[in-house]
């Protein structure tokens, strides 16, 4: 494999992992109108949950259950569901903003736990040397990466299919109705708080799944992997791709991540070393501008929302 191809494989693994997060966010925001400001927190719970369950036994750590990888990922997803339930039950019957505030809070708290609960999370050092699924079967890292790209692509495809099928059934109509007019939905026999809770938990579980896949690929977790900027990046992916559309979610994930990677490359190539220290800030400003400008000038993103959600009403 040539250098560029090797990088492309690596790039796509990460981008497709993020696309699963974006699809999880999409059913929350795009279909149901839930503002999750703590995406990175749930991604981290999934990652740490998986890492703790899959990791080998170590004397100074609580975890180390050495579970098979798929089981560990499921465990991480279950933890995500639990956390989402706690936040959701507190906030989803209240003003919509409260969910945003509480999710923002949980993301910060998760980072603190990751950093401080050393005997569980490895603290600042993180958890290292985690087994990567089926790693032994491949001779070269490039071959393994190609295999893992296949795994992530299949997972992303599966999630896409599952969500697309579900939102094109009466379920999607229900979500959209709750988003459009909660009072009317309530007057027609639906309990919006319950619907929201269901969607919120489901979306967070998908974020957890992506966290697990990320761990499987990197073989390592550390608190530095889950900085708040990731939440902004994920949001930029969704809003640029077009919220309310799962294809948009995938396109946005790949597109924005490419933009991010390329802007980093461009800055390192074209900006004089003396100004490099501003480079990261410029990259982040690009993300911020992307969010705000898309919101104002192209609220439907690249690929807008389909007018009719349920396929049987076509």
């Amino acid at each position: 494999m040539t250098g560029f191809a090797a990088y492309l494989v690596f790039f796509l693994i990460v981008a497709l992992t993020y696309s699963i997060v974006v699809m999880g966010l999409n059913i929350q925001w795009g279909y149901t109108g839930l503002f999750n400001a703590g995406v990175v927190g749930f991604f981290a719970i999934g990652a740490y949950g998986t890492a703790i369950l899959v990791g080998p036994d170590r004397a100074h750590l609580i975890g180390g259950f050495g579970l098979p990888f798929p089981l560990a990922v499921l465990g991480g997803m279950a933890l995500c569901a639990l956390a989402a339930l706690i936040v959701g039950l507190a906030t989803l019957r209240l003003r919509e903003e409260y969910l945003a505030i509480a999710t923002f809070g949980i993301a910060i708290s998760i980072q603190l736990v990751a950093l401080n609960f050393e005997s569980l999370t490895g603290g600042a050092q993180g958890l290292v040397g985690l087994p990567r699924p089926l790693f032994g079967l491949f001779d070269s890292p490039a071959g393994y990466n190609l295999f893992y790209l296949g795994v992530v692509a299949v997972m992303a495809g599966l999630v896409y299919w599952a969500l697309e099928t579900a939102v094109r059934s009466p379920w999607g109509r229900l979500l959209k109705a709750v988003r459009e007019d909660e009072t009317a939905a309530r007057s027609l026999g639906r309990n919006p708080a319950r619907v929201r809770l269901e969607v919120f938990v489901l979306g967070c579980v998908l974020m957890g799944l992506a966290g697990g896949l990320y761990v499987g690929f990197i073989g390592y977790v550390s608190p530095l992997d889950f900085l708040p900027i990731l939440t902004f990046q994920i949001w930029a992916m969704l809003i640029v791709g077009g919220s309310g559309n799962n294809r948009g979610a995938i396109v946005g994930a790949v597109g924005v991540w490419a933009l991010w990677a390329m802007s980093g490359l461009a800055i390192s190539r074209f900006l004089p070393v003396a100004y490099q220290s501003q480079g990261g800030a410029i990259q982040v400003i690009l993300i911020g501008l992307l969010i705000v400008l898309t919101l104002i000038f192209r609220p439907r993103g690249l690929i807008g929302e389909a007018e009719s959600v349920s396929k049987h009403a076509d």
């Binding site: 790039f11 050092q125 294809r247």
Partner: protein, 420 residues
């Protein structure tokens, strides 16, 4: 879907055109570096990058490596492993660098090492990652010899600091440390060593980086009324902690970690409060080779090279380039195999600066052995890629950073022995 393919192609086009232009200019060697230029290490990161760039400039002045111009490509990891890994991956796969300098934090260096450089057989030299886990990894064979670092591990640092604390007669010491792998391991080692020397460690309080206030941590550490504070920190946060510590009546007997040897720290805290402070660093302040670096830094930047990571970064870059010259090819494995040929040993000493490198090039061309004596003094890598070397004890005199004492290798080893 269309636009996804389009953006993919655009990306490919951009990168390929870049690669093509690099090939067109016949003889250029790329040296990659991943450092924290923004994020939690931003305060020290860009100066470290400058130190690396300085070594490259010196080498180019001396005629480049094997007659080729060296191109320094610096990437920002933003203090985050996933960004760092991505940056390293582009450097290795697209820019085709044979050697990677960095990263600063161990938490970033480690994933780069295991998932990028070792699999691609690229040599990685870090200026600043001090975590003990690298030594363990090397011992287990996980680095395949591709890992080097130009700063010593924290084991001897802790021993020296504790020994001095005992000599000064401190009885109760509080420890406040940055909650990172660097801080945790140095603080823990110091506590163990100090207790062996009969000093009571009243508490080990971690703090999280980049908080605006550490009043709570300081208050917790103050509770036991210790007569000295060991502060393991980076300059910005360290200044915050020290200011609050002193403001709230903490003892001005301060013991400082190596990262605090920075003008920024002294300025922010105020030199008058640091009269009784001492700290450790592995950079020498005396000696011809050190002077050579200090002078050229001052020429280039107009200020003294006081800051963490500068000397070690220069050495990391210099060692890489000399090994490349010695190997005669820009290949990761060749660099790995030649690093020990240009350091240690009995060859002709080579000092930092364009002049030194010119001399090295001539000697290598003549097939004579060389020995790099760098900005940190003589350098010898052990089988795990770690260096051991002399230390200096710094403090503040007349409002400025000053060297108070020097510990050569023998003295360090004696101190270590006592603590066994």
């Amino acid at each position: 879907m269309k636009s996804m393919i389009a953006s993919g192609l655009m990306g490919a086009g951009l990168v390929l055109s870049g690669a093509a232009s690099a090939q067109a200019q016949d003889c250029k060697i790329a040296v990659g570096s991943v450092l924290s230029i923004t994020g939690s290490m931003a305060a020290i990161g860009s100066a470290i990058g400058d130190a690396g760039k300085l070594a490259i400039d010196h080498f180019n002045e001396a005629g480049g490596v094997n007659g080729c111009e060296v191109n320094f490509i610096l990437r920002d990891d933003q203090g985050s492993p996933n960004v760092g890994v991505d940056a390293a991956k582009t450097l290795v796969e697209i820019e085709k660098v044979p050697v990677l300098l960095g990263a600063i934090q161990s938490g970033v260096s480690l994933p780069i090492l295991t998932s990028v450089t070792v699999p691609a057989k690229v040599t990685q030299i870090s200026c600043c990652s001090s975590a003990p886990s690298f030594t363990e990894l090397a011992r287990e064979g996980g680095t395949q010899g591709y890992w080097f670092r130009t700063l010593p591990t924290d084991r001897p640092q802790a021993a020296v600091l504790a020994t001095i604390a005992a000599e000064k007669g401190y009885k109760k010491i509080a420890v406040i440390h940055v909650n990172s792998d660097y801080g945790v391991s140095l603080a823990t080692r110091f506590r163990d060593d100090a207790e062996k020397l009969g000093i009571e460690v009243t508490g080990v309080t971690p703090y999280n980086q980049e908080q605006a206030s550490y009043r709570a941590e300081v208050n917790a550490a103050l509770q036991a009324e210790p007569d000295a504070l060991f502060l393991v920190a980076f300059p910005a946060d360290g200044a915050t902690v020290a200011r609050e510590w002193i403001s709230f009546g903490g003892s001005q007997n301060l013991i400082l970690s190596n990262a605090l040897r920075a003008d920024e720290f002294v300025e922010s805290v105020g030199a008058q409060y640091l009269e009784n402070a001492y700290g450790i660093d592995n950079a020498q302040v005396e000696g011809e080779s050190v002077e050579a670096f200090n002078t050229s830094w001052k020429d280039a930047k107009g200020s003294d090279p006081n800051g963490p990571g500068l000397h070690v970064m220069y050495d990391a870059a210099a060692v890489a380039l000399l090994a490349m010259e010695q190997a005669g090819e820009a290949d990761g494995t060749a660099i790995r195999d030649n690093i020990r040929k240009v350091t240690g040993g009995e060859g002709e000493p080579i000092y930092p600066g364009a002049e030194g490198f010119k001399k090295a090039k001539t000697l290598i061309a003549e097939g004579k052995p060389i020995r790099y004596v760098g900005a940190t003094g003589p350098i010898t890598f052990d089988e795990n890629g770690d260096v051991t070397g002399p230390y200096l004890i710094y403090g503040v005199k007349d409002g400025e950073l000053a060297t108070l004492d020097r510990w050569d290798k023998a003295r360090v080893e004696a101190a270590l022995e006592k603590l066994q």
